[in-house]
């Protein structure tokens, strides 16, 4: 299913776990250190360096860009490390996160409450994922190196809906289906 970024609450509410999406538009990368800094800023009453309303955050830190490419290999990192920061960012309007692996027990209820989704990127397929990134621009926390916040323009970036706005969890249902012991 082809989906445009930024997402809207109407679109997000139509999504179901297991849906394979191809995203086109702008999104931001941020992971451990950038999350810590953004949330500390918000908690002090400040503004994060990016406007989060209806935006999508990709938990990723790419390889450096080779001379002829906008970006190096890029793929999702383990999402659970960002869990403690999620609600603060949801309150700022964050609508989707792209990562890998399952999340803490308290995340699905938050997806329901704030009408947001957790999307799974294809962990390990970073070379072909980089082909979907057409533009990349470092926009904040440059001192964090690989972990800085970048704005990416992606075309048909493939992701799978992992937790939907009903709070359903793809991994939980998928694993139960194939579990034999």
């Amino acid at each position: 299913m082809k989906v445009k970024l930024p997402l809207t609450r109407e679109v997000v509410e139509e999504l179901n776990i297991g849906d394979v999406l191809e995203l086109t538009g702008y999104l931001y990368t941020a992971r451990d250190a950038a999350h810590k800094r953004m949330v500390e800023t918000i908690e002090r009453g400040g503004k994060p360096p990016i406007e989060l309303d209806n935006q999508t955050i990709f938990y990723a830190a790419p390889c450096p860009a080779p001379p002829d490419k906008p970006i190096g290999s890029i793929g999702p990192t383990t999402s659970v490390r960002m869990d403690p920061y999620v609600e603060t960012l949801l309150k700022e309007g964050l609508i989707a996160m792209i990562g890998k692996g399952d999340r803490s027990y308290y995340i699905p209820p938050l997806m329901k409450k704030y009408k947001a989704v957790y999307l799974l990127g294809l962990g390990g397929a970073a070379a072909i994922m980089a082909r979907k990134v057409k533009e990349a621009r470092e926009i904040a926390y440059v001192d964090l190196g690989a972990e800085s916040i970048k704005e990416l323009y992606v075309e048909n970036l493939k992701v799978i809906v992992g937790i939907d706005t009903k709070g359903r969890i793809l991994q939980e249902e998928g694993i139960a289906k194939y579990r034999k012991i």
């Binding site: 394979v20 830190a61 890998k100 190196g145 972990e147 249902e173 998928g174 139960a176 194939y178 034999k180």
Partner: protein, 291 residues
């Protein structure tokens, strides 16, 4: 310059440490760009076996990714890891020149810079400032017979490393205890370790040595079994049970959770049974050379 001469009546082989720099540099790039053919073949086999449609789709992407990365000489995974360098050094080798570990780190530094590989190492684990060049590498050396040096460069990603575990079992726990600890580790890892996995298991030795055995187990060529019959049997049983957990590719549910299980064992204390499980994600990278 590699020369031989007699030292104390013994034939020794001199190697200049500086010669390692370009070798390590190239190994870092090769490991990150080119997944081994055996691994890609195994992923293709798994594609046929996988029952879940979503699982098949993931495997298909991983195969395409490996082929694209090799062809275009780019990193197959963005997490180009902390660099584990394992050297088996023949005892008839004499090193000359700069300090051996400095030479290895210089090779890593050059490989990650020239290869556009991600720098993922922080200097102090608590202060957490990126060292900017992916050094220091985690260097392990073993002294072996002969006058050759085998070098294995193994970039190790954190997704799977973080889900690895160690436990000191009691001798009474036996192979059943080992099995349940391995399975528990796989379940706790779920999709976080980027399955399908290669599972390295170290049994015996001491606490630290079991951990090292589990990492060394990951260096074994895919599909090669342990030579001891009882361990080979345990490897097969574990592989079968891991694939019944239902975790599947990337933890989305499916029948292919692991591609291989490698066990390495070592003698241990009468009171001990250390077990370590080192998980390796689907982007299993190592490059090897013997000089």
């Amino acid at each position: 310059m590699i020369t031989s001469n007699h030292l104390g009546g013994m034939e020794m082989r001199k190697i200049r440490t500086e010669e390692l720099i370009p070798i390590i540099k190239e190994l870092c790039k090769k490991a990150c760009y080119e997944l081994e053919n055996e691994l890609v073949d195994k992923l293709k086999e798994s594609f046929e076996e996988e029952e879940s449609e979503l699982g098949k789709e993931v495997l298909d992407e991983l195969i395409e990714n490996a082929e694209y990365a090799k062809e275009n000489q780019v990193a197959s995974c963005q997490d180009t890891g902390i660099t584990v360098v394992h050297m088996e050094i023949g005892q008839e080798v004499v090193w000359e020149g700069m300090y051996l570990y400095d030479a290895v780190n210089e090779g890593v530094r050059q490989g990650y810079e020239e290869g556009y590989l991600r720098k993922s190492v922080v200097g102090d684990p608590l202060i957490r400032e990126n060292t900017g060049d992916n050094t220091p590498a985690v260097i392990r050396t073993d002294i072996v017979e002969g006058d050759k040096v085998k070098i294995v460069v193994m970039p190790k990603g954190a997704g799977s490393e973080n889900m690895s575990r160690l436990k000191m079992l009691t001798p009474a726990d036996g192979s059943e205890g080992v099995k349940s600890f391995v399975l528990e580790t796989i379940r706790l890892a779920g999709g976080k370790a980027c399955p399908p996995l290669i599972v390295g298991v170290g049994i015996g030795g001491t606490m630290d040595y079991a951990a090292w055995l589990s990492k060394r187990a990951l260096q074994r060529p895919l599909g090669e079994a342990n030579k001891a019959e009882h361990l080979k049997k345990l490897e097969l049983e574990l592989l079968e049970e891991i694939n019944k957990t239902g975790i599947g590719p990337l933890g989305l549910g499916g029948t292919v959770t692991a591609l291989d299980v490698n066990i390495e064992a070592f003698p241990c204390h009468i009171a001990s049974l250390p077990v370590a499980v080192n998980l390796q994600c689907n982007s299993s990278r190592h490059a090897v050379v013997t000089i």
